[in-house]
Homo-oligomer: 204 residues x 2
DNA sequence: CTTGCATTATACCAACCAGTCAACTAAGTT
DNA sequence: AACTTAGTTGACTGGTTGGTATAATGCAAG
């Protein structure tokens, strides 16, 4: 039941890549099928709609990214180092995409969410789910920073949300400006937002 | 030369509204023409492409919004009050759109930019131009806050960019979550990011 | 009245869109 | 060998897409 067939896997992979690089609206089912080398009939055997595929592709992407995220945000790592690793991973992946596609792609969940939240409720809910998952990592991080006395915070959940909103905002601006620069200064802004007391190590 | 005909005006107005409510990809030229009560021939007489219309519609939207922005960010107003007015204007307009359309619409420039920056260079450049215009207001604000000794900042331009990225991030998250709440707490996050010393007045 | 030009209206296009379908294959299972 | 199940194929549908060609209008100057 859970073993996904080769063509289903290929469709999910291709769809994720194409939607991330372009947008949901500018990629057609035919485009995806052609690039994936899968027949359109097979597409609609595997997924009941284009929108369904997008949701499934995002879930798959998350499942593949999760081990790395678990590692980056591991409680075994001091919170400030966690933050550093998180920022570095974003910079690395964004730069890699930039080299591959010749342009900044930003956060896929947010791009799709921003495009279709008002149009497709299932996609909005998925994007919302994705952001909430990421938020959990940031919440633990904020709480651990507070526990170590590195920051002062009344409402850790709210601060985490602020940090995460900031991160996604920076990624969006980087996409619009088509420039890595803001992403490279991501950590600086986060440190300021958190109000980390000892700035010697990480903030430039 | 500059006087725009009635149908051109109607097209720009309708396009802005429809693209903001839905998305560029999910609104067709026919949709816009029908709703604007303008014939398709007139559309392609006035604009040479759908993408051109979008760019023009955004420019028009900016021109109409500018007087309000100039007023909000007037140097005559103390910087902290400017910030408060800015946040209030965002909350008000977002709530108004929420009541009209039954959903959060976020920032139109950013939504379109996020959707099409990798697809349409003219649209990306326009979105980039829009954000840079807004950034100028925030830059002056940050500098004036520093001049009054309310914040400490080494690079005002960078802090302004951070604040603006945060604002757009919050608007995007509000759209994805379809919830005004984060927008209502916008000022709280900005104050923390700025590191305003005297929090008594504005931050709850 | 007529010429010329700025609009606007109508009809049309080929390409493309998401989605459907009956026929087919291949690999078990009995 | 007969039957079931899971997956594949490619042609097909009906509607929509952005964009065009051209005719009809209005209207102001000569």
């Amino acid at each position: 039941m859970k073993q996904e067939s080769e063509s289903k896997r290929k469709l999910l992979e291709t769809a994720m890549e194409m939607i991330w690089e372009s947008s949901y609206g500018s990629v057609s089912v035919d485009d995806i099928c052609t690039k994936a080398g899968v027949n359109k009939g097979s597409f609609y055997y595997a997924f009941k709609s284009k929108s369904d595929l997008a949701v499934a592709a995002f879930e798959r992407h998350w499942e593949h990214k999760r081990p790395l995220m678990d590692k980056i945000f591991s409680s075994q790592i001091p919170p400030l180092e966690r933050l550093d690793n998180y920022c570095q991973s974003i910079i690395t992946s964004q730069k890699e995409k930039y080299q591959t596609f010749g342009k900044m792609l930003g956060c896929p969940y947010c791009s799709l969410g921003s495009e279709l939240s008002t149009q497709d409720e299932k996609i909005r809910l998925k994007a919302d789910e994705m952001t909430k998952r990421m938020l959990k990592y940031v919440e633990s991080l904020v709480r651990d920073l507070a526990a170590e006395g590195l920051i002062e915070v009344k409402d850790p959940a709210e601060l985490a949300q602020e940090v995460f909103s900031y991160v996604t905002g920076v990624l969006m601006q980087a996409k619009i400006e088509n420039n890595v620069h803001h992403v490279e200064r991501l950590q600086h802004g986060i440190m300021r937002l958190l109000g980390v007391k000892n700035l010697t190590a990480a903030a430039s």
